[in-house]
Symmetry: C2
DNA sequence: TTGAAAGCGCTAACAT
DNA sequence: ATGTTAGCGCTTTCAA
């Protein structure tokens, strides 16, 4: 494997000068640089990141901690991050927890990543106080997506506003019995968005003077199957909702499926609304709250990269992205006699 | 940042012994090991992978080259890989091309990854002869998913058989005019699966003595939108197909959408069949060919890990996973008078 | 503008 | 069972 010494020998110079030339540092005559670059190219030389890192104290690697790679939201954040990293010369170390709490512990509560990466992106995980303390002592720029903690770069959406947009839309159509499908006990990793969206839904209901009936807050685990089960339970309620607001498109699609199984249709029988606006939503004509996901990944990466550039220790930039309603065919006015509709 | 010397000082031993103790190497008394582990834990010591790698010549990192992270198939392969890596103490370096040919060039045609990873997983990319040559000279165990090249570990499915299963099913239902929706000019990265599935479709048609009518081979770019456009073109054909076989569920769902827009229904008017069997397929009741994706990711990782363990240079294990038809409601017998059905 | 020399924090080979 | 001694392949002073 050709090393910097091979290149140095080739151009008959010291490794120090070769290193300088290759990295574009000042103090190298243009012609020398050209000769070095040419030789390096010819020999197929690539610097060992290990050796370079050991000597310079950097890794040129960004760590990304993600609860699941297979979910739409997370994969698009990663996509956005990599869009920015590509070209900046940073590699991406993917720490995929796969929903595993032990893996979370290893990544967030130890110094495992400290010597591996120059900065850290943490997706949709609000650190516990201990984790927060640990992250702080890592001494790296850290970016949080879908969380908001002082002393870290943060990017998120206003989850309370998301629910307000959803409920306002439904109320505007004439709905009064609006149920919510959100997270559940199983999602041990990301609790913030589900909680805030539930809270926002309750707040909006109250603002409109509407009651939250018993059983109207259901767990959907952020999966299609979970949404389907949740809707099935909602349909069995004595006072059936006229609209179901699900905290993700996946769950909303599950809800639609449950309706169909029950021989019901959206929006004639029940209106359904989701969150995310992924491609599938347009396919099933699902009214949803759009959030810019890829952009959030790009933004957090930019922040962290900037911190790396300026050498500023722990920057504290917070940015909340706007969301908006995308009206489609799954929501409409409640069935006229819905209040007295037989089950 | 605490280093191995801090630990050594703490237990009053040499760094060599501490290193041995920490890595579980033989030649350390049990009580010494315990003392060392305790001290390391107490000090929050984590070995620098850079220094360790530089000294040992390994990186404990596996590189994964993926065309897109946001697509269902790729994210599940990555998930499968990480399932196996977790616990084995390997990190995962994600090289996401994002569909970018320049990024492919940098990852596949240079030595960029040579000093960064111990092994490489390449997803759904058949290397060009030059790339193949380059990969070989990297001297790493290399695993290919969705490709088949001598001298590399390979995992795939039989794409010809996939199409045969699809066509056989449709012919069994009585269809004779079966169109295909596959890749397109745009998918510069992964050409193999689209090509083989197209080939398999033609072969199966021929085997059944059926003609491939003009315009029956459409490009769908492996996206929902592409599938929708392809189906729209197929519906405008003078001799409309009675069945559409799409090479992915995403495209098949796009096809269903086009049907709906045209006021048609599956399977009464036209049967639709996909490939993958992702969660969404069951939701839209799409008949499809199931392939085990996560398992392919696990398998290729196992192979490469085994090569790493045994130190065998370039192993050559090939494994083809079985696929099977999952019949659902999107396929059925052709409309009785379909042959003479007006457009 | 260039070179010499001293590490970076570990592991590995060889002693003891 | 433990310690000593060289590096691994770069970058970074400090000199020239």
């Amino acid at each position: 494997m050709t090393g910097i010494r091979d290149v140095a020998r080739e151009v008959d110079m010291s490794t120090a000068s070769v290193s300088r030339a290759l990295r574009g540092l000042p103090g190298v005559s243009p012609e020398t640089r050209e000769r070095v670059l040419e030789a390096a190219r010819r020999l197929g030389y690539v610097a060992s990141p290990q050796a370079a890192g050991l000597a310079s104290g950097t890794t040129r690697t960004i760590g990304v901690i993600v609860p699941f790679v297979t979910r739409w939201y997370f994969s698009w954040i990663v996509q956005g991050a990599q869009d920015r990293l590509r070209g900046e010369g940073y590699d991406l170390l993917l720490a995929n927890l796969g929903g595993d709490a032990a893996a979370r512990e290893r990544m967030l509560a130890t110094r495992y990543l400290a010597k591996r990466v120059d900065a850290l992106l943490v997706l949709a995980l609000t650190p516990t106080p201990e984790e927060e303390q640990n992250l702080r002592t890592l001494g790296l720029p850290i970016g949080l997506v879908g969380a908001r903690v002082d002393g870290f770069c943060c990017v998120d959406i206003d989850d309370l506003a998301v629910s307000a947009q959803a409920v306002d839309h439904l109320v505007g159509l004439g709905h009064r019995r609006i149920a919510y499908v959100g997270g559940g006990l199983e999602d041990t990793l990301d609790k913030r968005a589900p909680r805030l969206r539930a809270e926002g839904w309750r707040a909006a209901m109250q603002r409109h003077g509407l009651d939250v009936l018993p059983g109207y807050d259901e767990a959907g685990d952020f999966t299609m199957a979970g949404g389907e089960r949740a809707a099935t339970r909602l349909l069995a309620l004595p006072e059936r909702p006229t609209a179901i607001y699900a905290a993700s498109d996946e769950m909303a699609i599950g809800v639609l499926r449950a309706l169909r199984t029950a021989g019901l249709h959206a929006p004639e029988d029940i209106s359904v609304l989701g969150v995310d606006d992924q491609e599938m939503a347009s396919f099933v004509d699902l009214t949803t709250i759009h959030q810019p996901v890829r952009e959030q990944g790009e933004a957090i990466t930019d922040m962290v990269l900037a911190a790396l550039d300026t050498g500023a220790g722990q920057p504290t930039e917070h940015r909340t992205f706007p969301t908006h309603l995308v009206p489609r065919a799954s929501t409409g006015p409640p069935a006229s006699g819905s209040r007295t509709l037989p089950r």
